[in-house]
């Protein structure tokens, strides 16, 4: 197991390196001079040159990249151009909101998709199955922001069951009322995918001999479905649940904006609109790293659950 984890980390290293190069390049080859942006349009050229020198922008690109990596390794992500606060601190303040949203989203996605997929597969071609297929098709064509606005309109504006916007700690009941609509919104992009996958995975398993054997020896039907069929259909489902954590992280951009949650997605969007490059750079990097790390964790969990992966 240890060697599997080590191997997986070794594979991830070049990807992370590539990610850092890409994020660095994307924001350094941009039109517009950050020093000019900091100094303001009316600043004399000497001031701009001073800022360039302080930021190291007068150095060759590879030197800048080297310094950038060295600074990142020390946890120094620079300072926000607008507020002058350290970027890492700002990002880490907002990260729990985004992770909380994504986690509640994953749980909600699983609670909805897995039973729906199982039932649809079990009652194949029934009305339930057809409406599931229909919901999956419709869900695929519905933008996340549209779902968010519809939920907001129905449940917050018309029915007033949930607060309009804002965020509270999840330690209070109020916090859960605040996170409910955003969590449903953020998972709406993933539920169709996971439902379809659970359904097809179950359909495959339901025709296996061991399911027939279980029925033949008189196992109760619920036990056949849950213990014999679903446990075997579970593996691909787990992988997708894990991988979709990344999808949920990026769904945070839209969801946090709609519901005004103080998360990392909203912070990055606002930083882009305000041309606050250090925050954009740090935020994008942190998002990508979180995604790569989650993928590794999923792979490791998968290997722990299924020995065929480790030795295959």
């Amino acid at each position: 197991m240890a060697s599997y984890i080590a191997g997986r980390l070794v594979q991830a290293a070049p990807v992370l390196l590539g990610v850092s190069v890409l994020v660095f390049l994307i924001l350094h080859l941009t039109p517009g001079n950050p020093a000019l942006a900091m100094a303001g349009p009316d600043a004399p050229p000497s001031v701009v040159r001073d800022i360039e020198r302080t930021l190291g922008l007068d150095q060759p690109l590879y030197v800048q990249y080297g310094r950038y990596v060295a600074r990142m390794a020390r946890g120094d992500f620079g300072r926000s151009i607008r507020s002058r606060e350290p970027v890492l601190g700002r990002l880490l303040d907002t990260l729990p909101v985004t992770l909380g949203l994504a986690t509640v989203g994953v749980v909600w996605t699983t609670l909805v998709s897995v039973p729906m997929g199982i039932l649809a597969a079990y009652r194949r071609n029934s009305l339930l199955d057809l409406s599931t297929i229909f919901a999956v098709l419709a869900g695929n064509a519905m933008p996340v922001f549209a779902i968010g606005l519809i939920l907001l309109w129905v449940f917050a504006i018309q029915l007033r069951w949930f607060p309009l916007t804002g965020y509270e700690s999840l330690r209070s009941l109020e916090g859960w009322r605040h996170i409910a609509l955003p969590a449903i919104t953020v998972s709406s992009g993933v539920i169709p995918l996971l439902t379809r996958l659970t359904r097809s995975s179950m359909l495959e398993v339901l025709h296996q001999d061991y399911v027939r054997s279980a029925r033949a020896k008189g196992v109760r039907e619920t036990a056949v479905i849950v213990r014999h069929a679903f446990r075997n259909a579970l593996l691909p489902v787990i992988t997708i649940i894990g991988l979709q954590f990344g999808g949920l992280l990026t769904g945070a951009f839209i969801t946090e904006t709609i519901f005004s949650l103080p998360g990392m997605g909203r912070l990055v969007v606002q930083a882009i609109l305000g041309r606050d490059f250090p925050i954009v750079q740090g935020g994008v990097l942190l998002f990508a790293v979180t995604f790569v790390v989650t993928n590794i964790l999923v792979d490791v969990g998968y290997a722990a659950a299924d020995p065929r992966i480790r030795y295959g």
């Binding site: 590539g18 994020v23 098709l137 419709a138 519905m142 606005l149 969007v269 609109l273 995604f291 790569v292």
Partner: protein
């Protein structure tokens, strides 16, 4: 001279299927019948057809200038003069939706064009030449470390928020999908005998790729491009909704939803119509893509 040579080799076969028996309908006729039978192709094709008509007929369909404000007619409900009502500045929503179809279609075409141009080239190279495979696919892995929207957001973050940059961003973010599909299709095709035969008689690589390999991976490309239209329009609408894409007064559907969001309590229908337009368009391209995949899948022929 080139034609004589070609005649000797035999034109590249259209695909690796068995020759149909004498008297059987031609491959194209069969394909068209299969397409016509698929309900997905019919519905999807119908929706995309309506979209194309709207794009072509926009000046005739629109009841007003979509960008012309009219302070006296703000937040008008749907009526005969304004079928979908008016927005916060009194602009006619129906006309904005109609003209928005042009923007959405251009977004789709340009983004998919960028993605297909780079994606097909890289996919062909990676699939055909072993020495390019590893470096190209490792670079694609790096792009895939950015889930969907994140890469597009990063690129817009660098280039600045605008419709043009959103198209570029969505195009670049869609490259990995094309590369992977084309590469795997090429890997399947290049082991066919007609590729070996062509190589044996001295067909040069560039010609081999363009005339023998590319036509045989075209169905995968068509399906990916059709489904890519749907996701490109969806991504670009999301960027515009975040304020990172089309800027007002451009009548882009996602940007329209962004405006409507501020007036959700007093004029919810302002959000409804552009959302419906996005939904139906995406549904159309998704149906068409899925239907094409089923109809073009060679495994179903055999």
């Amino acid at each position: 001279m080139a034609t004589a040579r070609e005649g000797a080799v035999g034109a590249p076969p259209p695909a690796a299927h068995a020759i149909p028996p004498r008297g059987a309908p031609s491959r194209h006729a069969t394909l068209w019948r299969r397409l016509g039978r698929s309900w997905q192709v019919r519905i999807g094709g119908g929706i995309v057809g309506v979209l194309l008509l709207t794009v072509a007929m926009a000046p005739f369909l629109a009841v007003a200038d979509p960008t012309q404000p009219n302070i006296l007619a703000r937040f008008a409900g749907p009526s005969q003069g304004h079928p979908f009502g008016t927005d916060n500045l009194g602009r006619d929503t129906f006309s904005q939706i109609v003209y928005g179809s042009r923007i959405s279609l251009s977004i789709g075409l340009i983004s998919v064009g960028i993605a297909a141009g780079f994606g097909i080239t890289l996919g062909l190279l990676a699939g055909f030449y072993r020495r390019f495979d590893n470096p190209i696919m490792r670079a694609i892995d790096v792009l895939l470390a950015f889930p969907g929207l994140l890469l597009a957001i990063a690129i817009v973050g660098a280039l600045g928020p605008s419709l043009q940059n959103a198209m570029i961003a969505v195009g670049i973010a869609s490259i990995p999908g094309f590369v992977r599909i084309v590469r795997s299709a090429v890997l399947r095709v290049r082991s066919n005998e007609y590729v070996d035969a062509a190589r044996a008689v001295g067909v040069r690589d560039a010609r081999l790729l363009m005339r023998y390999v590319l036509p045989n991976v075209s169905s995968e490309i068509i399906v990916t491009a059709t489904l890519g239209m749907a996701s490109a329009i969806l991504f670009a609408a999301a960027l515009s909704f975040l304020g990172l894409g089309a800027q007002p007064p451009t009548p882009e559907w996602g940007a329209m939803v962004l405006v409507a969001r501020s007036y959700l309590d007093i004029a919810p229908y302002q959000a409804f119509f552009p959302i419906a337009a996005i939904f139906v368009t995406i549904l159309g391209f998704n149906f068409l893509g899925d239907g094409l995949r089923d109809a073009l899948d060679p495994r179903l022929y055999r």
